[in-house]
């Protein structure tokens, strides 16, 4: 099981954000992405998640335990928690959780997860009434409900209090101990012993250089 990034370049709009990045992670390894806003952390995570095509280079995922799955099937083996929570606001907390269990085919018992994420008193309330922190907790409950080998967390603890942030860290450590891979981007310190840290830097003038229209000059 591995994630292998080779000579990756990524573009957002007209600007080059990531240039010639190489890194590879084996099982139980974790990667922390840091750097100022707008430097490409989200873009990098979203490209590993499969939403953004690389401009150059490659991202190779080898996540299946039995290695029979082809590349396109691997999307199923990724947990992606992005800026949006992925919660339907008109459904109750319980209905949201039940739908995810049914959709992903998980038979994990719901109650312990609801309890550990401090959602017990909220289950029959439409998710739209929840605070930002409560929504985030609901979104993160997916990580516990469905087992997947690769976690991609983009600012997972944003709008969470310290206690809930510790919950995320505990879950992540457990995931790593069980042989999972974790890639996270955050500027709030997380109590996770990351095995690797990459500080992304602004490419400066270079971010405009590779556009095919500039080559003409």
């Amino acid at each position: 099981m591995a994630v292998k990034i080779e000579h990756l370049s990524l573009k957002r709009g007209n600007r080059l954000l990531i240039k010639d990045l190489s890194v590879s992670l084996e099982k139980s390894e974790s990667l922390l992405l840091t750097g100022p806003n707008g430097v490409g952390k989200t873009t990098l995570i979203r490209s590993i998640a499969g939403f953004i095509q690389p401009e150059a280079g490659s991202i190779t995922l080898n996540l299946a335990p039995d290695s029979t799955k082809t590349a396109s099937d691997q999307a199923e083996l990724i947990h992606y928690i992005g800026h949006k929570n992925g919660i339907r606001t008109s459904l109750t907390v319980l209905e949201n959780l039940e739908f995810w269990c049914e959709f992903y085919g998980s038979d994990q018992p719901l109650n312990p997860v609801i309890k550990s994420h401090n959602l017990s008193s909220l289950i029959h309330i439409p998710a739209g009434y929840l605070s930002a922190g409560q929504k985030r907790r609901l979104s993160l409950a997916k990580l516990a409900l469905i087992k997947k080998p690769l976690w991609l967390l983009d600012e997972p603890t944003v709008s969470l209090d310290e206690l809930s942030a510790k919950l995320v860290a505990d879950a992540a450590n457990q995931h790593l101990n069980a042989g999972g891979i974790l890639i996270a981007a955050t500027h709030i310190p997380l109590a996770i012993p990351f095995t690797r840290t990459i500080e992304l830097k602004n490419l400066g003038r270079d971010q405009f250089k590779t556009t095919e229209w500039e080559e003409l000059i």
């Binding site: 709009g13 007209n14 280079g57 095919e212 229209w213």
Partner: protein, 262 residues
Amino acid sequence: MTTTTEPTTFWGRLWTRFNNFFSTIANPGNFLNYSAKILPWLAGLSAIGFATGLYITFFKTPLDEEMGQTVIIMFVHVPAAWIAQMSYALVAASSFGLLVWRHPLADVSAKAAAPLGATITFLCLVTGSIWGRPDWGTYWQWDLRMTSVLVLFLLFIGLITLRSAIEEETQAGKITAILALVGVILLPVIKLSVEWQQSALHQKAGIIRGEVAIEFLIPLFIMALSYTLLFFYLHMKAMRAEIYRRRTISQQRRLAYEDHQD
């Protein structure tokens, strides 16, 4: 970039050659160079073509027994209809090129061809309407050809509007390309269904029936050729303008960024 090994089969090698050739002519810098050389030729040949074609049309073509003088409009209308379809084919082929090879010049080509196609389709509708007036008694008839040209026009308008509605340019190109390719599948179906409806309503298929006399065919083909040359002249010119526009935007962005840094 992934390294490619030389394929061993004949077709594999041919495919690599084709791809290499394609990426050479599709490089924006190369395009600016060779299009500058081709453009004067296209302009000159097209001008000569139109001069010859229109001269023959107006002074040498015998008048049609049935249609009389109005037959002259045919030489403007029919080539417009052909070029309208060709320009859609060009938009679709460019869209395919963008989605498969992800080459930006294909997007430039699709973007440049759409307004040209819309214009020539509109010209086709107007001339068709004027031509049909004496025959139909009205300026518009829901005749098979006219209806399908109208649908084609709507599709062009859809492509142009969709592209202009999406802010991010690479995104706009890809999304519009999907619409163009969906149109390729659906246009024949629409045409077929209109045809079935028409065949039940009117027995008469259209204006041109039977064989077209040779003295009509020659000027028709000269006109069609001139139209084609003019279309490609305008298309190439529009592509060049688009390349310069994108280049300017890219420079402006860099300048704004550098100024911000100082």
